[in-house]
């Protein structure tokens, strides 16, 4: 596969390490009332669609950026690639 890195352009997927569902960006608040329940869900439930999937890849043999890749799990077509750090910031993790 080829991942179109937002900075570096098209790169072979073998340079990357896969993590999985991008919901792993949404780490719960440890002080929430139901923190344990939230962490159980965060830790173990995965979106697993046959279709578009937002997922985390790490450019280990590249610029070491974590990326959020939107990829179709049936066709493997990649439609969007973002820097995970930007996604995390947009998602309100800047604190």
């Amino acid at each position: 596969m080829i991942i179109n890195h937002p900075l570096l352009g098209p790169r072979d997927s073998s340079e990357f390490v896969y993590l999985g569902d991008a919901r792993l960006l949404n780490r719960p608040d440890w002080q929430a009332d139901n923190a344990l329940e939230q962490f159980i869900d965060y830790g173990h439930t995965r979106e697993n669609p046959a279709g578009l999937h937002r997922e985390l890849w790490y450019h280990e043999q590249g610029d070491r950026s974590w990326l959020v890749v939107t990829r179709n799990t049936v066709t493997h077509e990649i439609t969007q690639v973002e820097l995970a750090r930007d996604v995390a910031r947009t998602g309100g993790r800047s604190k």
Binding site: D12, F39, W66, A88
Partner: protein
């Protein structure tokens, strides 16, 4: 020299005559021959035996679709079983042997199977061989296994090398026939970056096999001229002998270039083959088509082949299997073969055309509306019987029969990403569908466009469309004129018979087998394939699948497309396993990482061991030591007595800087780091988010905003990745900077009561190593040996007064030599991993054996380290009840009640007096060693409620090794439990 069946002309180089051997007999051939063509020229038709019935077989094709003529090529370590004689490029001195026969190809005792074929119908083995149960492995299966299989491996290591390579292009053209050449010319002359791959050693595809003219010259000549034109273009790479084996995601193709297979031995330093990973923006499939047979009784004798193969042998290789040939066809193309053979002086005794309206000819006899219902000839065709259109039969003597059942476009690569071809009634064939791999288009015969003109035109048009898509301006060359014969075919699949008519020749699947599969309800095309083994042979069903589907459709009363198609999967043709591995084998399978003291350690005669990719000294034998334990015990004793040195460079080192560095470490370690003073080191336990321990190590605070974190050797890469995840994804706006410095610093442990004295000899003036100035867990950046920058950490894995000292890696070799020199007065010893392991077990320190991915801080006896006062990775999920059971496993020390007993790692722990089984298991041993200090074997292990069972005698069992004895549960801290030595 004139050979029996050598004709005039052809594309062979008669100036080079070569000798080769097949089954102990020597023959002559020419440059440009294949093994099959050369054998045919020598009058040899019999080249192999079939898989199941051991039927005599000769070549059916001229290409990689060959099911029958497969041989063992070469001898010794270079032997290649199952090699198609039709694709073996002849070289001087070639040796090949027939396979899957005993004792000889002409007389094969296993052909008795042929007589018993009624008992070996499709799926017979699923219905028998079940009684008695034990007989399967002992009796039935060994017989079956010996009989099965085709060629044999040499069992010797492959002596040749393979490479992997990477190419990038705008357009990959697969196949160098008329469509591919026209496309390459169009795209190449427009300036696009083109890679053209062709599996043949002579690029040109069917242009080299036919007699039609292209642009007023012989097709082969036009092909040669065009190839030369392309090779002159710097932006075009023409790759003969290169098979595109798979279409992978996003325009990536795998291709195998056979660099040296046409040579007896590869040239020095050169690979046998190269696996190219081609990253293309677009691909144009111009893979041509394969002629398919008609199925009839005994249609498998040597001499019976594709009609197109018959004329290819005559036109390109100037040979024929026999001087008298017949043709059996259901379409006009069969007649082309007859014309070409007549032109070559071969006697065409008859053309049997299934169509009543077949064209007639003045050159040869045509039987319109006839079919072949029987053949004769034990080791090669001698006679056929034709069922005449108006009744009755006619026998015709002939030594070869060309069969043409129409052409199948080569759609394989179009299916590699799940696409299925669609049925085209006019062509009576499957053609590529709309669901092609993204970026791929198809031209020429592969797309069902069979005339030369059509192929040229569609290749050029395909290239133009791609150029437009890539915004490259096309400067298209004019296309040469060529024949534009329409396809005329009336589908005809098989001549009905109660006897055997072969569909899959290699696997001996007959039309009867397909009917039986239907009768037993194996009707799905995949069931048919798997039950009968149709299409599962080394030719991957290239010549058999369509006929098989057609026969299934007929018995099921369905149309062919309703029966379906089978999936084509990579590789396109069978591919040497070695080429996928490339250079990654033997000691070079993975890189080797060497420590800075490696050269010195080698000089000391150290024994090395793998630690991940690293090689580390395991022990340093001294003269007279014959067993590793002697060396290890000595190293341990001497280190504890005086001082020892160990290279610990392989532990991961990560530089963590930034205003938020301390807060960041507070997040990734379960214990606190915010308040660690500058100049101090702290042990840190890192959890996974699920609460299980990921790794442990230390973090040294060199400055307010600067830490050096260490990891275990095994987890260095994983921990670094995890830290980047936390940094970028979980706290994107913290000021934290990470970079690995593992290789930058040579780091040595200097351990033992004299370590301070030793180091004092090399540190520069002003560096105070006293216990007060530089206490346990201190760290500092210092200089040594007259000004070399170094880092010093007072940390101890051994439990001794110990330091780790780091210098820039290039000075590591000099430093270890200096330390040894300076330590001579203390009888300093180097120690290896074994001694390190003994000392850490004696101290109850954990490593990978304990941090095995299932253990928690609680299990390790470090439950209280998980701070509840802050958020850290894993702290919340570590609170789940299953990880906090009252009888949770706890790390304990174990020592044998009988001092002579071993306590092997991997043993299980049992309470005394209970049954020895899994249900009563109490835990297991993780690490074990002989402790020279305690004078017995000791071990660490996890025991249920272990921390409350100190002093209890329990049972240690290792039934795998026949061990069962009593051990005492003790503190894991066997040695110096108060830690007086390391704080000294």
């Amino acid at each position: 020299m004139s050979l029996q069946n050598r004709l005039d002309g052809g594309l062979i180089d008669r100036s080079e005559t070569w000798s080769f051997r097949f089954d102990n007999k020597y023959y002559k051939g020419h440059k440009g021959d294949t093994l099959a063509s050369a054998l045919l020229a020598n009058g040899v038709r019999l080249m192999g035996r079939s898989f199941k019935y051991h039927r005599p077989r000769g070549p059916m094709t001229t290409g990689s679709e060959e099911p029958n003529a497969i041989v063992e090529l070469r001898e010794g370590a270079r032997k290649e079983p199952n090699t198609r004689a039709t694709t073996i490029e002849l070289y001087d001195g070639l040796r090949a042997n027939s396979q899957n026969r005993w004792p000889s190809l002409n007389f094969d005792a296993m052909a008795v199977n042929d007589l018993l074929s009624n008992f070996f119908a499709a799926g017979f083995y699923y219905k028998t061989f079940m009684w008695p149960a034990a007989f399967w492995e002992k009796v039935y299966e060994p017989i079956i296994r010996r009989a099965a299989g085709l060629g044999s491996l040499s069992l010797q290591d492959d002596p040749d090398g393979y490479d992997k390579g990477f190419l990038h292009c705008d357009l990959l053209i697969i196949g160098g026939g008329p469509a591919g050449l026209a496309a390459a010319l169009t795209a190449g002359e427009s300036g696009a970056r083109v890679v053209l791959c062709d599996e043949d050693f002579l690029v040109g595809g069917r242009l080299n096999l036919e007699t039609y003219e292209v642009g007023g010259m012989a097709g082969a000549a036009w092909a040669a001229e065009t190839v030369a034109r392309l090779q002159a273009l710097p932006n075009v790479r023409v790759m003969p002998r290169t098979t595109v084996i798979g279409a992978f995601d996003h325009g990536i193709y795998g291709a195998v270039e056979r660099v040296s297979d046409h040579l007896a031995v590869p040239e020095d330093g050169k690979p046998r083959q190269i696996l190219w990973r081609i990253t293309s923006k677009r691909a144009l499939l111009c893979a041509g088509a394969i002629e398919r047979p008609i199925v009839f009784e005994n249609n498998d004798r040597p001499g019976i082949m594709q009609a197109s193969a018959l004329r290819a042998y005559a036109n390109r290789w100037a040979t024929t299997p026999a001087q008298q040939v017949a043709i059996f066809t259901n379409n006009d193309d069969g007649h082309r073969t007859a014309y070409d053979l007549v032109a070559k002086g071969v006697k065409v005794v008859s053309v049997i055309d299934t169509r009543t309206d077949a064209p007639t000819s003045s050159e040869y006899d045509v039987i319109a509306g006839g079919v072949i219902d029987q053949t004769w000839g034990r080791l090669g065709l001698s006679q056929i019987e034709v069922k005449m259109p108006k009744g009755g039969t006619r026998r015709i003597k002939c030594g070869a029969l060309g069969v043409s059942g129409g052409w199948n476009p080569n759609v394989h690569l179009t299916c590699h990403q799940g696409g299925r071809p669609t049925w085209n009634n006019a062509l009576a064939a499957f053609v590529p569908s709309g669901t092609l791999p993204p970026g791929m288009t198809v031209a020429g015969a592969a797309n069902g466009i069979f005339s030369t003109h059509g192929a040229l035109q569609s290749g050029a048009d395909g290239a133009k469309a791609i150029l437009a898509d890539l915004a490259i301006k096309a400067s298209a060359p004019a296309l040469p004129e060529a024949e534009d014969t329409p396809v005329k075919i009336t589908p005809f699949w098989h001549v009905k018979t109660a006897k055997r008519a072969w569909v899959d020749q290699q696997n001996d699947v007959t039309a009867k087998d397909i009917k039986l599969a239907h009768q037993e309800n194996y009707v799905s095309v995949e069931h048919l394939k798997r039950y009968t083994t149709l299409g599962m042979a080394t030719d991957q069903g290239k010549t058999s699948n369509t006929a098989g589907l057609a026969i299934m459709a007929e018995v099921a009363g369905k149309a062919i497309p309703e029966v379906g198609t089978t999936m084509f999967r990579p590789p396109y043709t069978p591919t040497a396993m070695g080429v996928y591995a490339g250079r990654a084998w033997g000691m070079e399978m993975r890189p080797t990482r060497l420590t800075p003291s490696h050269k010195w350690a080698e000089e000391q005669g150290a024994v090395f061991t793998e630690a991940g990719l690293w090689l580390r000294a395991q022990w340093y034998p001294k003269p007279g030591e014959t067993h590793w334990r002697q060396s290890c015990d000595r190293e341990v004793i001497q280190t504890r007595k005086s001082v020892g040195i160990c290279d610990v460079t392989s532990l991961g080192k990560i530089d963590v800087q930034g205003a938020d560095a301390a807060a960041f470490l507070n997040t990734v370690y379960c214990n606190g780091f915010a308040k660690l003073p500058v100049g101090k080191v702290r042990y840190g336990l890192m959890l996974r988010e699920d609460g299980i321990v990921m790794d442990d190590g230390t973090a040294a605070r060199l400055a307010e905003n600067h830490f050096v974190v260490t990891t275990t050797t095994a987890k260095a890469v994983e921990v670094y990745r995890h830290l980047e995840f936390v940094r970028q994804c979980l706290c994107p706006d913290k000021d934290v900077h990470l970079i690995s410095t593992t290789d930058a610093w040579a780091q040595f442990s200097v351990a033992g009561p004299n370590s301070r004295k030793l180091l004092e000899k090399i540190v520069d003036d002003g560096v105070n190593l006293s216990n007060e100035a530089f206490p346990f867990m201190a760290c500092a950046e210092i200089t040594i040996c007259g000004g070399l920058r170094a880092r010093l950490f007072r940390i101890s894995f051994s439990g001794e007064l110990a330091y780790e000292i780091a210098v820039p890696t290039r000075y590591g070799d000099a430093l270890v030599r200096r330390l040894m020199q300076a330590g001579a007065e203390f009888d300093v010893v180097p120690y290896g991993l074994e001694a390190l392991n003994v000392m850490r077990i004696e101290k109850g320190h954990v490593t990978g054996n304990e941090l095995n991915g299932t253990t928690t801080a609680l299990n390790l006896g470090m439950g209280r380290m998980v701070s509840k006062a802050k958020d850290s990775i894993g702290s919340t999920l570590s609170e789940r009840p299953g990880l906090n059971e009252p009888d949770a496993l706890k790390l304990v020390g174990l020592r044998p009640v009988n001092k002579d007993h071993m306590v092997p790692a991997g043993a299980h722990l049992m309470s005394k007096g209970t049954k020895v089984d899994a249900v009563h298991g109490q835990g297991y041993v993780t690490s074990a060693c002989y402790s020279p200090n305690l004078g017995c074997h000791i071990a660490l292990g996890f025991l249920k409620s272990g921390d409350t069972r100190i002093g209890e005698t329990i049972r240690l069992v290792s039934p795998l090794m026949g061990v069962d004895h009593e051990v005492e549960v003790v503190s894991p801290n066997f040695f110096d439990p108060e830690g007086e030595r390391l704080r000294a």
